[in-house]
């Protein structure tokens, strides 16, 4: 054996392996079994959660096998790739001969049909030629246009339909390949990220979910308004944002989005997914002097010291916390800040918005209360770009259509045999089919029964 023969042998063997249904079944089974792991073991959780749950040793093994992000692991992707290659090779292997079969016409061989499914023989009036002519009109609708063949004194009518349905399975396989291609295109050229935009503001960068890297949109998204509404039970009813696309200096598109109704622009989609309140940048504070009893409202910015009248020192608001806990008690939205007294002594203050008298408990020289501030929401947008989605959707349509053709349509051949008989003619229906014999049996039985009802010979009824 020379080198070329060995190579050819290897190629043939590989071709044989990759074009086998055995491989498809093995890969499908492996995909089914391994997919279970990822539904039982939480995916992409924090490392310490896994350590706590499985211990150090098991964690290392599972981590090595990428079990914690298994659907994106090399071995799972490899299985999917294997399925894809299998599908391609299978189709290349079988499609040419399938096309050849589809290109042919019906074989008018009565013996093939006599071995296939057969209905009961009916008696009809008239010579075989007359009966055959009548039947070729009557049965054209349920069968197809007939070809007449004479066999001795008898007449044979042949018809077939659905030869093309033999290609249905390739539509299904093509659909799966489209799904895989769409997934691949999406993961190569698309991204998934988020943007948090404060009401009244614009943004043009997306923060990616996996890496925290940022991607510029190439245009700006402005959020004009955000609102959340609730049912009487307190459960959320609707989140909505009014978004405006600003591109090349002008407003090009505006849309009110809700969950299930995103904004799409230039292949990028913006989904309502989250919301929150934005800490204010400034607020007004009311300082009440213990000595004089006077109250002074003063506006100030967070992070900047505010001089307190009567020379009582300065107050610097530092943070705005939505849900602050004061000694273990939830006190709601709160401003945290530092009060610097006349002598230079510093005191940390917590000022809950809802309880203006809170600071009095400190019994200091001056009491601080939070006055008015601007309360704004930000809308949390899920941002995705997936150029593969149209491949996937086309695949979806092919998959449904292909499954329907493959499962519920078939290549059906019919033969109607009309032979001379004492009363005129004897008629028998035959059918052959490439799948679902039971269905064909039903078709032949029904058509025979219908034919009998419609063409019943009157004498027979008299005899009865």
């Amino acid at each position: 054996m020379n080198k070329k023969q060995v190579e050819k042998g290897l190629v043939d063997t590989l071709w044989g392996v990759f074009s086998s249904v055995r491989l498809s079944v093995i890969v499908l089974t492996l995909l089914a079994v391994t997919s279970i792991f990822g539904t039982v073991i939480p995916q992409n959780a924090a490392a310490n959660l896994y350590l706590e749950r499985y211990g150090e040793a098991a964690y290392r093994v599972l981590h090595f096998l990428d079990i914690f992000d298994m659907y994106h692991s090399w071995w799972f992707q490899f299985l999917i790739l294997l399925l894809g290659i299998n599908l391609v090779i299978c189709s290349m292997d079988r499609l040419p001969s399938a096309l050849k079969i589809v290109g042919r016409t019906q074989r008018l061989n009565p013996e093939n049909y006599r071995r296939a499914l057969k209905g009961e023989t009916l008696k009809m009036e008239g010579s075989p030629a007359e009966v055959a002519e009548g039947l070729s009109l009557r049965l054209k609708a349920p069968m197809a246009t007939f070809t007449l063949v004479e066999e001795g004194e008898g007449q044979l009518l042949f018809a077939e339909k659905g030869r093309w349905t033999r290609l249905g399975v390739y539509v299904v396989h093509g659909a799966v390949l489209l799904l895989l291609a769409g997934g691949l295109i999406g993961s190569l050229f698309g991204y998934e990220g988020y943007m948090n935009i404060t009401e009244g503001q614009s943004d043009q960068t997306v923060i990616l979910n996996n890496s925290n890297a940022t991607v510029p949109l190439g245009f700006q998204i402005r959020c004009d308004d955000f609102a959340v509404s609730f049912y009487d039970t307190g459960a959320p009813k609707e989140y909505r944002s009014d978004l405006v696309v600003v591109d090349e200096g002008g407003e090009v598109l505006s849309k009110r989005i809700v969950v299930n109704d995103p904004l799409r622009y230039k292949g990028i989609s913006f989904y309502q997914s989250n919301y929150g309140t934005v800490p204010p940048e400034s607020a007004s504070f009311v300082f009440t002097s213990k000595a004089s009893g006077m109250s002074y409202p003063v506006d100030g910015n967070f992070g900047k010291p505010i001089p307190i009248p009567e020379g009582l020192g300065t107050f610097t608001p530092l943070h705005f916390i939505n849900n602050y806990k004061f000694r273990g008690h939830a006190v709601g939205a709160t401003v945290l800040g530092v009060l610097k007294k006349k002598g230079g002594e510093e005191v940390r203050l917590a000022l809950p918005i809802k309880s203006p008298k809170f600071d009095r408990m400190r019994r200091g020289e001056v009491t601080v209360t939070v006055g008015e501030f601007e309360n704004r929401y930000y809308t949390g947008l899920q941002v995705t770009k997936d150029p593969g989605v149209w491949f996937v959707y086309t695949g979806f349509i092919f998959l449904i259509v292909g499954c329907y053709i493959t499962f519920f349509m078939s290549h059906q051949g019919f033969m109607v045999e009309v032979t001379p008989d004492t009363s005129g003619s004897a008629v028998t229906l035959y059918g052959s089919v490439n799948k679902n014999r039971l269905g064909m049996e039903m078709v032949i039985r029904r058509l025979t029964e219908k034919l009998e009802r419609e063409t019943r010979i009157p004498e027979r009824q008299v005899v009865k």
């Binding site: 249904v21 055995r22 498809s24 079944v25 499908l28 089974t29 995909l31 089914a32 997919s35 279970i36 990822g38 539904t39 039982v40 939480p42 995916q43 659907y71 997934g183 998934e192 049912y231 039970t233 459960a235 959320p236 009813k237 609707e238 989140y239 809700v258 969950v259 299930n260 109704d261 995103p262 989609s269 989904y271 997914s273 899920q382 941002v383 995705t384 997936d386 989605v389 996937v392 959707y393 979806f396 998959l399 449904i400 499954c403 329907y404 499962f407 519920f408 799948k435 679902n436 014999r437 039971l438 269905g439 039903m442």
Partner: protein, 271 residues
């Protein structure tokens, strides 16, 4: 008259119908055929009325949505789908033999819905993510698929029960073939169910697939039945081998339906 009362009555009628089917089968009498089928159809009618009444009840309390969004409502629809599909099958294929098992499943689905303390029957408003026209298409196609797989499971069980006996009338062939037809129907509808779910997910969250446990389990079920279809159509497996595979497939269906609720994920509102 409330919808839950109708569902309770339908449960009872389904149970009785299943009993008659089993009696007809065991005692080999045709006298019970008509009453069994009649009761099954009556049960289906009452079940459907219950479904429709619940729909109108939700409008009466100002929520107004199709009842397909929690475990109770899905069970009611599952029972309905099984009974309807079985009756169609009985008419088309003239196979009465699966009736006892099929109606038992309808009975169990409705009994579980009405009796289990874990299943809340209150009509609640929809959370924002469920407000979509895809809800109806997604849930209905999934459950027609589940119902077809359930009938295939019933027929496969029957096939395995009878496999010891001699097959004189060729009915084993019919059972095997009918079971396969149900698998094909189930596979088509499972595919459409997964697809409508994917399109919906893409319109709600911006991705058509996210490896959520319910998604993954429906895909596992899809893989199992895809394997079955391949070994049957290409490698010529049938009878006992495919009947056993059909049982495995149905176990996956049941886990997709109920088991996944034990795992965390997006579909947890189904619990």
């Amino acid at each position: 008259m409330t919808s839950s009362l109708l569902i309770s009555i339908a449960t009872f009628v389904y149970g009785l119908s299943a009993l008659l089917y089993f009696c007809a089968w065991i005692f080999k009498t045709e006298k019970l055929d008509l009453p069994a089928t009649g009761l099954a159809a009556t049960g289906l009618g009452i079940n459907t009325a219950g479904f429709l009444l619940r729909w109108s009840e939700s409008y009466a309390i100002g929520i107004g949505r199709i009842p397909l969004s929690n475990l109770y409502e899905s069970l009611v629809f599952y029972g309905l789908a099984i009974a309807a599909l079985y009756l169609i099958l009985e008419r088309l294929m003239k196979i009465r033999i699966a009736g006892g098992f099929a109606l038992t499943f309808s009975f169990l689905a409705l009994a579980y819905a009405s009796l289990s303390p874990n299943v809340g029957s209150q009509i609640r408003p929809l959370m924002p993510a469920l407000k979509s026209n895809w809800l109806t298409a997604h849930v209905m196609t999934c459950f027609v698929g589940y119902a077809a797989f359930t009938l295939s499971f019933a027929l496969s069980l029957l096939f395995l029960f009878r496999s010891g006996k001699e097959d004189s009338d060729g009915s084993a062939f019919d059972i095997d073939e009918t079971s396969h037809q149900m698998i094909l129907l189930g596979f088509l509808f499972l595919s459409i169910g997964i697809i409508t779910g994917a399109v919906w997910a893409n319109s709600a969250w911006g991705r058509y697939w996210g490896w959520d446990p319910k998604e993954t389990w429906s895909l596992i079920t899809w893989f199992i039945y895809a394997s079955l279809i391949h070994v049957r159509l290409v490698r010529g497996w049938n009878g006992k081998k495919t009947a056993i595979l059909s049982l495995v497939g149905f176990a996956a269906v049941m886990f997709t339906y109920f088991g996944v609720n034990l795992l965390p994920g997006l579909h947890s509102y189904g619990a």
